[in-house]
């Protein structure tokens, strides 16, 4: 008896689904293997039985079937339109949010620029420079020798009217102090 049984080729053989080479191999095998011949007959009978059973499947009411199919198609179409509508809304929504955010940012910057709110505190060097400039404005450096002898807190009036002092007065002031 042959060791190899071409079991999976038996149905295709019956149905004419094998190549010429496969077909001749199966035929040669079947000539010497009663087991496979029997198996093939059983398979053929089973296929006939299934085909017969399938043919007996009761058909539905095709008119009703088509009505249901059309209803489903409409529902699918409507769903697609809804989904597209939602998508359009979503698409409309994102730019709106972005534009609102941009507008809010611009407004905020404008307010800060107008009121100076939130600007960073100046560094030490930046504080020193205006102070030096105000010193120059009141002529303190030019009259340094006078200022040097003043108690700034007590003699603020003198400093304020320093320019009004005549050179002689300055000297007198120097000598008196």
């Amino acid at each position: 008896m042959a060791a190899y049984h071409p079991e999976t080729e038996l149905v295709p053989y019956l149905r004419g689904g094998l190549s010429a080479e496969e077909r001749s191999q199966v035929e040669r095998h079947l000539e010497q293997c009663s087991q496979c011949r029997q198996s093939m007959e059983s398979a053929g009978a089973m296929l006939s039985r299934i085909a017969h059973a399938v043919d007996e499947v009761r058909a539905p009411d095709w008119t009703q079937y088509r009505i249901e199919l059309r209803r489903k198609m409409r529902a699918v179409e409507a769903g697609r339109v809804d989904a597209a509508g939602r998508w359009r809304l979503a698409g409309f929504g994102w730019p709106s949010i972005a534009m609102s955010a941009a507008a809010a940012a611009i407004l905020g910057i404008a307010i800060m620029m107008h009121h100076g709110v939130g600007l960073p505190a100046p560094g030490v060097d930046q504080l020193q420079m205006p102070q030096e400039m105000s010193d120059a404005d009141v002529g303190l450096l030019a009259n340094y020798r006078v200022v040097e002898h003043l108690d700034l807190l007590e003699n603020y009036d003198v400093i304020e009217h320093l320019d009004e002092l005549a050179p002689g007065d300055r000297r007198n002031h120097e000598t008196s102090s």
Partner: protein, 200 residues
Amino acid sequence: MAAPRFRGGLTQVERSDEELCRGIAEHDADAFEIMVDRHQARAYRLAYSMLGNEADARDVSQDAFIRLCEAAGKFDGRSRFSTWFYRILVNLCIDHQRRNRWWRRLAPLTSPGEDPDDRGYDPPSEEPGPEGDAMLSQSIGKLRPALDKLSPQQRAAVLLQTQEGFTSREIAAVLKCSENTARVHVHRGIMQLRKLLQND
């Protein structure tokens, strides 16, 4: 050559499935109607054979036509239209069964771990089988529970072979497997049915 047919007083050459599919892709409602006319009975019958339930067969075969309508533009014509369409239908049937598996677990049809696809080599029986002409006279109703015990792939392969006359290559294209695997599905399906129906 395509046979002419009369419709609305005009002679029309019958359009092939592939032409209709292209028409459906271009939103030709007539093409869709003709396609459904042509395939609804076979689609329903295959779905019924796969699922064993009229309502499910109706639902799933209708869903297959809806999918066909949605995916018609993707049909590239490299395979036969029927292979492509039955792949959609069989996949929907298998998905439907997977979704309802919890229900089947409540009343298992096979013993745990007894997956028909996991069985090894099954040599041909030495004993003469009870099959033959007498089998045809047996109750068709007995075949249904036996079909239900096959794996979805085996059932699809056997039904495509018997009902649609598909070749192993076409079954392989529908099930997305090799031709050899398709042959194994058919063989094991039939062997399983023989065993289950042996005592009938």
